[in-house]
């Protein structure tokens, strides 16, 4: 995992959630223009406790509770960003972004191209399913943002990436949608560099292999790794996209050129998902290297059900990924 730091920093074990809080704290200490806002992010520390402790350290001006109003949360952040501040706003669940969608795609996303004015802001989006959240607390809306020019879209899978990419997002001069997967918050722990830590918006080979590339990101990365581990070492490569916009096309193409086969995993609903774009890319620019169809494992096009037995039927599982990998390897 590359960092922009040149010296190897000390690390600490953190959950994915702690890594996020750490990034916020480090960046807020470093740059007084950075502030956070959102529903219940203040003294309460946020619905998931991502902003815990920040109110005490930075006060009410820099850790702002807002009314329930996603369009205003996003839109006032755009204004603050135009004025030179660096807002990091939280939508309580990524699902609710639909109520502030217009400010995001039409105001924030198009501003720089239209006017030359930068909108340095981060929209934190606790996303994804797997814990019986039901149709309105489990969505993965990233493809909507990918289809809206001018937004960067990040979806880290590890604590170190969560910290490094959130920090880099805060320093970026553009509106960044930061998808933090709720189901990783407390389940995933890892070594995270202490202090300042930045990760570039590129993909990363999470496991090397020669015969098949599994492309995944967010929570699906872990299922992809689990599935890959069921095959002999060195067969299945797993590529962690980490960033969806910009999409690291070269890393995808390089991997597929090496392995000749590709399986793409989306937790999101299949149609027009991020994986559809990856598939289209591969089918165009790596066509002559392909030795098999471009396969996908994704949630079918239905809302995410509540009852765990139904939810597991809809969300990709390590079993289904391994099964698709097996078929492709045998193709």
């Amino acid at each position: 995992m590359s960092t922009l730091d040149t010296t190897a920093p000390a690390t600490a074990t953190m959950t994915y959630l702690q890594a996020i809080t750490d990034a916020l704290r480090v960046e807020m200490r470093r740059d007084e223009r950075v502030f956070v806002l959102g529903e219940d992010v203040g003294a309460f520390g946020g619905a998931f406790k991502a902003t815990e402790g920040l109110f005490d350290e930075f006060g009410a001006d820099r850790v702002q509770d807002t009314p329930i109003a996603e369009a205003a949360i996003i839109g006032t952040s755009v204004g603050a960003a135009l004025a030179g501040l660096r807002p990091v706003c939280e939508v309580q669940f990524a699902d609710f972004v639909a109520t502030g969608f217009d400010q995001l795609v039409n105001v924030a996303g198009k501003m720089h191209w239209r006017t030359g004015l930068a909108v340095p802001m981060v929209l934190r989006l606790p996303s994804g399913g797997g814990f019986a959240g039901g149709p309105f607390h489990s969505q993965n809306p990233e493809a909507w943002f990918m289809h809206a020019p001018g937004l960067k879209v990040l979806a880290p899978s590890t604590p170190a990436d969560a910290k490094g990419m959130l920090s880099a997002a805060i320093r970026d001069h553009n509106p960044v949608c930061f998808l933090e997967h709720k189901h990783l918050y407390r389940r995933i722990k890892g070594e995270v560099p202490v202090g300042e830590h930045l990760e570039p918006f590129t993909a990363r080979v999470a496991r090397a292999g020669e015969e098949l590339t599994i492309v995944a990101y967010g929570a699906m990365l872990h299922l992809a790794l689990e599935a890959a581990a069921r095959f002999e070492p060195g067969r299945v490569e797993v590529l962690d996209l980490r960033s969806l916009v910009p999409l690291d096309e070269e890393a995808i193409l390089a991997s597929v050129r090496r392995t000749s086969k590709v399986l793409i995993v989306d937790e999101a609903n299949e149609t027009c998902a991020a994986g559809a774009q990856v598939a289209a890319l591969v089918a165009d620019r790596a066509f002559s290297d392909l030795d098999g169809p471009v396969r996908r494992v994704a949630a079918p096009d239905v809302p995410i059900p509540f009852s765990p037995v139904l939810e597991q039927q809809v969300l990709p599982t390590a079993d289904r990924i391994a099964e698709a990998a097996r078929e492709l390897l045998a193709y």
Partner: protein
């Protein structure tokens, strides 16, 4: 000053002894159900999350009790289980739903208080606040366009008055005088956020900005909520348009069962506990000679049976998850809910609600299934 009260209702609704017994049954039904729900959740038997309306029972019960069978509720929210009970939705089905078992309300696709009952004129909520309020205005518009004597009723918290959807719904309702009743449950909190960080001016006061009356009512007094809703319904049926009812109350538990609500002042909670809507109503009914304990016992017996039946229910068939995204057959119409208030009993359509408002129910009431305390308790 903004007008905070509408013209006095043209008829004063009366509640007879059976009505009061029924109201208490629903209140106790909601409380005991939710207590059991919290326990099941803490035992790990309920997936996901659990939300309750402890301390706010009088609002959904009192409001729903004023409705006629053809009226539509769109939607009861997370503090509004009482509305479902009043409409008569089967208790076992509700528990099955909470537990993620197969059930007629949601087929396991939805959880916690995200359910409606198509057959009883109750549209289930979505999470996005207050989207269903907009939908309720659309239902009311359809009733007006078809010149039907029915209303739509919607619930929302004071925090849900901040999203833009609230404004759009208020504007459409007020401008077009839709027959809709807008029940705001002001419990002073939106998750951890107090009203002082939510808005500068209270919800009822804001109603005037939309050309409709805003009525403040004691949300812990089930009869007061009933009366305000009844008046709002009459107004709507007269063609005079919507009413915003702000029912003041207090959320006595956390936002959900995962939330210990440490951020709430214990003294405030203690003060509100004195005004518990059930304890106060029980005392009143007891003083009237009503056998409160019998009502409680009947409610509990039903609850026990329902929980047992629900726990014995299988999980939904996994392959069903992807069925029915689109409607391919003739749409199912919204059905008619229970309308247990005696004032509706004179007619079966509820159209004569105003006329039938005074006096005891006529004999041979067919709207309420059964009689006595059990009638008002949840099924």
């Amino acid at each position: 000053m903004l007008a905070e009260s509408p013209a006095p209702p043209s008829t004063v609704p009366s509640l007879n002894r059976a009505d009061r017994e029924a109201l208490l049954g629903f209140l106790v039904g909601m409380r005991t159900f939710e207590e059991r729900g919290v326990a099941l959740y803490k035992q790990g038997r309920t997936p996901g999350s659990f939300y309750d309306g402890r301390g706010q029972e009088a609002i959904s019960v009192g409001a729903a009790f004023a409705l006629g069978p053809d009226d539509v509720i769109c939607s009861p929210l997370i503090r509004d289980l009482g509305a479902h009970l009043v409409r008569g939705t089967d208790l076992t089905e509700i528990i099955r739903h909470h537990l993620g078992r197969d059930n007629r309300l949601s087929r396991g696709r939805e959880g916690n208080v995200h359910f409606g009952d198509v057959d009883r004129g109750v549209v289930g909520m979505v999470s996005m606040l207050p989207d269903m309020m907009v939908v309720a205005v659309g239902l009311a518009m359809a009733f007006r366009l078809r010149r039907e004597r029915r209303v739509a009723l919607t619930f929302f918290g004071e925090g849900a008055t901040s999203p833009g959807a609230w404004h759009e719904a208020m504007n459409f309702a007020g401008l077009r005088r839709e027959p809709v009743i807008l029940v705001c449950e002001n419990n002073g909190l939106a998750y951890s956020t107090p009203s002082s960080a939510q808005f500068a001016v209270g919800p009822a006061e804001r109603a005037a900005a939309y050309g409709m009356p805003g009525v403040v009512v004691d949300g812990n007094d089930v009869e007061a909520v009933f009366a305000a809703t009844h008046a709002a319904r009459e107004r709507a049926l007269r063609g005079d348009g919507p009413t915003l009812i702000e029912a003041r109350t207090m959320r006595m538990n956390g936002h959900g069962s995962h939330d210990d609500a440490r951020y709430v002042d214990p003294e405030l909670l203690a003060a509100w506990a004195e005004r518990d809507p059930i304890a106060t109503y029980e005392a009143r009914l007891r003083a009237d000679g009503i056998d409160v304990d019998a009502i409680r016992a009947a409610v509990l017996a039903r609850l026990d049976a329902a929980v047992e039946a629900a726990l014995a229910t299988p999980l939904p068939d996994p392959s069903s998850a992807t069925e029915g995204l689109f409607c391919t057959t003739e749409p199912r119409p919204l059905g008619r809910g229970d309308a247990p208030w005696s004032g509706h009993a004179a007619t079966s359509s509820g159209a004569a609600a105003g006329d039938a408002a005074a006096g005891d129910p006529p004999a041979g009431d067919t709207t309420i299934e059964g009689a006595g305390p059990a009638a008002g308790s949840p099924r």
